[in-house]
Symmetry: C2
Subunit: 293 residues, 2 copies
Amino acid sequence: MNVQQIQQVRSFNRIVTERVGALNDHFLGRDHPLGEARLLWEIGTEGAEIRALRSRLGLDSAYVSRLLRSLEGQNLVEVKASTADKRVRYAYLTKAGRKERAELDRRAEEFARSLLVPLSDGQRTRLAAAMKEVERLLTASLVNISIEDPANADAQWCIGQYFAELNTRFNAGFDPTLGISAHPHELTPPAGLLLVARLRQEPVGCGGLKLHANAPAELKRMWVAPQVRGLGLGQRLLQELERHAREAGVTVLHLETNGTLTEAINMYRRSGYQEVAAFNDEPYAHHWFEKRV
Amino acid sequence: MNVQQIQQVRSFNRIVTERVGALNDHFLGRDHPLGEARLLWEIGTEGAEIRALRSRLGLDSAYVSRLLRSLEGQNLVEVKASTADKRVRYAYLTKAGRKERAELDRRAEEFARSLLVPLSDGQRTRLAAAMKEVERLLTASLVNISIEDPANADAQWCIGQYFAELNTRFNAGFDPTLGISAHPHELTPPAGLLLVARLRQEPVGCGGLKLHANAPAELKRMWVAPQVRGLGLGQRLLQELERHAREAGVTVLHLETNGTLTEAINMYRRSGYQEVAAFNDEPYAHHWFEKRV
DNA sequence: AAAATTCTCTGACTATAATCAGAGAATTAA
DNA sequence: TTAATTCTCTGATTATAGTCAGAGAATTTT
């Protein structure tokens, strides 16, 4: 990281706050207080759980409740208890509410248009491309990685997604009981560990490490959710796992993988993993890799 | 402009507001209300006129006054009347105020750093480049162009800058009285017009059009401020002038220019101007162009 | 069956961010 | 010299945004 990059980020923040932030608020909050407008927007055409709205917008429960009362008073929103769990309440837009939301949508589009209008075709194309790049990289920087208990719900979800994907991609399907194990207790310190990557609280990837005394450690359960592929998350997980391995005194890392997982194989090669002869009898593996760390 | 581009802008706005906007406010406003922090920031280490602060931040005079009283109460700011005009008052940071502002600066930097930390070197480089591109193009889209009275202060300032630049760049200097005229009355409707481009209220470019009954119209006084070159502003001015010319029934546009102004010459060529034989005796011109509109 | 937890709500309160009217001093224009 | 304008300020008032404590109903855990 260098000084120019930091300066660039700061200067970007300045103009983007000026151009996007200010006008954004102005367009959204023209007929309603900003809080109400944001809530109206987040409820969406399908309705939403109130607790979900609260956590998405980061608002206090009392405050959301009051905003909803105000929107109800304006006949824009209806609140109903869930049938399954009567503590949980849903907010829905009324017909008038949907109309109001459509108006917000129109304004947001008008605003986007106003940014593009003064530019030439070529400039518009370049702006869209640069925005996409910024967006992708900011998304990448929004992902955080932490060690988690392999038994918890999100970890299990990731591993489940991983199995499901292998089952789809492997020619003969995939049965996790046939391969080499990576049970929760094997991925829990001090036996090993599991990293879970999250984007806005949602799990979007995982990677496990099995430690062995006096033998190479094994990388298992490397998975990145399809919607965040191409953001370098696989490499980040790999680097983190390697760091933890080094800290645990590991000198050699092993991993095996299936020939259909070409992106993963490329990533391992890029990251310094050398293909070696089979060091185990994993039935789903076609390639075995190792790296000294 | 297409739907994908608009979608891209909207999606960019969303994530940038989330990532930059929210955290920005949070970092700035940790020890002070946001309004105070912004004011403290804007006063800067050199101090500033209160009326300038008001217009830069777009705040009501009563509100700024109260914010300043509060900052004075915290010993962060001193307000003094100007010696030249005792109605105008200046705000200065005290030593404590400068310290506080340095702290805000540190946080802004820390925030920029936090965006970059999770990324790889390659990603950081790409992010900085994409941010620069977005920033440049958003700046370009922030420029607005309007017809103005050539006699007003900003128009005069632009023309003055234009003359000063020609004087520097032409080998033999430049004396506006020797060339073909473009007096204010010749650039005022219906005889002609003058466009002034502004970025955040500041004049950053101009371009004039002299109309002649039954003869080609002339482009004069095309100038773009150095700090906004490369944003396509010259082309935009040119297109606007051509549009006004067409609306006035013009079919052929003429312009002449000096050989040292290579960027301008390239721009005219790119914009469809054909070099033709000299159609006047402008002493500073080396090239004569025309375009049918 | 009792205890703990979850979810939403109301009441009471505070801080922040304004806005409007108008006054007083200084300056500029007529 | 008078009138108009500019600049900043105070007083009065409002809207917005948010916080904290605790209650009541429903559900889950023990």
